[in-house]
Subunit: 157 residues, 2 copies
């Protein structure tokens, strides 16, 4: 399974350690670096998380100026500069740096939120509020997602 799914709330202990959900670790287990990449979100009060593979994809995309506008290029520069490699310990816990915790307002607990190819880390209460807003918006204005065809490389006529 290659996706980050679901939301898990884990406690942050006195030392700033927090368990990465077992299913997220399973998703990342195929990668050479045993840990996560984390950087402060520039859009929300949360932390963006992903595996090294996704970082490389971002890098590839950033090099392609057609795909990324100058603004996006700046953003990717921000990302790489801010990204930290957080390896987990034998129990599957990472140590959250001070400034990262401060940016997300995390103190006692952290919510790991699956986003498919990536995930986010929120202060649980903040995420609850953000999610409620999104749900309200979804009820008012039902979002749709054009589904791509099922076959791996087949073109619909």
């Amino acid at each position: 399974m290659g996706l980050f799914l679901s939301t898990f709330v884990n406690k942050v202990d006195r030392k700033g350690r927090v368990s990465v959900p077992a299913s997220f670790r399973a998703t990342l287990s195929v990668q050479p670096f045993q840990g996560i990449i984390a950087y402060r979100s520039f859009a929300h009060a949360c932390i963006e998380g992903c595996g090294m593979d996704f970082m490389e994809r971002l890098s590839d995309s950033a090099q392609n100026l057609d795909a990324f506008s100058p603004e996006h290029d700046d953003l990717s520069a921000l990302i790489f500069a801010d990204a930290r490699q957080l390896a987990w310990d034998p129990e599957g816990r990472i140590l959250l740096p001070e400034d990262v915790m401060a940016h997300a307002g995390i103190t006692e607990a952290a919510a790991f939120v699956g986003k498919g190819q990536t995930f986010q880390i929120w202060e649980p209460e903040s995420y609850r509020a953000a999610e409620a807003e999104i749900r309200a918006r979804a009820l008012a204005n039902r979002p749709t997602l054009p589904l791509r065809p099922k076959a791996p490389s087949q073109e619909p006529r």
Copy 2:
């Protein structure tokens, strides 16, 4: 057989376990992840269910939206963040999480409703009411579905 068909009502035991209908399990048996993906519907008081393949299709489709776009954020939050991987036990049962049961109003029984590529899980009485409404609507305003041609080059099953 590759579709979710028919409706099955199964009991939820004291632990919150419920048997996934054998025919649904057969549909999902070809997948690497032995279980279902479930997320709370944002349109109805029910649970949406599918296999991992469908989630991956959703993920692929979501990639078409720009990374970091608000639309992408909302959809990911609503689907990937809320999706739970519910593996079944050797008897074919899944454990329904508390909040998921609450969202659908499920207490003692659950109705598995086939929807073709996906399925839904309802509180049986709620579904009876919802189905009656749909039938009434269909009588008043006959829905149509433009059939696609019977693609000759596709592999038969």
